[in-house]
């Protein structure tokens, strides 16, 4: 397993853990371990209570669990098989997740005016995952180009 794969696997595993935690507290109806002690990042109650914490009946945390689990599985599969179709799925999930995370961070900043430390940590795992898959794709592109380039 390359360094990029290890980083992505770790970030995705942390992402699964955080999103499972956020989903469980939402389903149970208890607040996150958070609060004013965390300074500007302690606005978890407000973020959790906001309408952006779900899309219709689906909590955003549930989407996070599925997304991070998909990233984790794709990372491990690609590390083992190096198949292009697996890399494509990994890249797709990572870029979609990163775009959504950037949107969620903007919503916290401009619409809710509160930061939730758990949401930011989760967002970091997705963005780190996206950065690593991009580095893997660049390496793959270089290798492919080298293989298709005619010998001098």
């Amino acid at each position: 397993m390359s360094r990029a794969h290890r980083i992505s696997a770790l970030a995705s595993a942390v992402g699964v853990a955080i999103s499972v935690y956020l989903l469980s507290i939402r389903l149970i109806g208890v607040p996150a371990i958070c609060g004013p002690a965390l300074g500007p990042f302690g606005g978890c109650s407000k973020v959790e209570a906001s309408a952006w914490s779900s899309i219709g009946p689906i909590p955003v945390a549930a989407i996070g669990v599925v997304g991070s689990a998909l990233l984790l599985v794709a990372t491990i599969l690609h590390a083992r098989t190096r198949r292009e179709d697996v890399l494509a799925v990994w890249l797709f999930a990572a870029l979609a997740g990163a775009a959504i995370e950037i949107g969620l961070i903007a919503i916290q900043a401009f619409l809710i005016s509160a930061w939730c430390v758990w949401c930011l940590l989760y967002g970091s795992t997705v963005l780190v995952g996206a950065a690593t898959v991009i580095s893997v794709v660049r390496s793959y592109a270089r290798e492919t180009r080298d293989l298709t380039r005619p010998p001098r």
């Binding site: 606005g43 978890c44 309408a51 955003v60 797709f92 775009a99 959504i100």
Partner: protein, 225 residues
Amino acid sequence: MELIRRAALSGIVVGVVGVIVLFLANPFSGTPTPSMDENFTPVAPVLIPAEGLASGHGLGAEDAPVVLTVWTDYQCPICGTWGNGVEPTLYERYITDGELRIEHRHYSFLGEESFTAAVGAECAADQGKFWAFHSYLYSNQNSENQGAFSAGRLRKIAEASGQDLAAWDTCIADPAVRAEVEADAEEAKSLGITGTPTLIIGGWMDSGIPAPEDLYARIDEALGN
């Protein structure tokens, strides 16, 4: 590499569509969706206070030594946990003994149904039946801005909580009541409140629901125990 290019493009498109869907889920954008049946029987609240223990916007003796001010939004799920779970516990532990009074304040910020629910509660307060309406709201919470607190359902809640419906109907149409609820939200912001529920005892303020032992310790400290 063609597959990789297509995956990259699809990922970005799906992500952007996801963000747009999230923004469209925003309750501030417009009219609530009346997706819930308006011909319903409201669920009765967990806590029905004894005669004389609910007055004004509060629960407990008016001369209780400790006053816990609670800012909530009627659509916030954690506030539902507070109203259906913590308030009844505090009632048994402190309020029946005359040691604590809970004063409710509105911090409506989750969308239109938060405001209409709070307006309904203010109109119940005009009839001296605020707490009954307030408790019914928490017992009948559902998804945010999906019609749980539509006009029809709020009227059912008003009826179930014993309001004079003719007076209540007149009151909720009064823009001055809505203005009071909006002014409450502005006051919450000016106090630096960023989430709900927010609890205040004297100079102490905290958002969310504290662990029971922490909350009891805070109240006991204020009681001088």
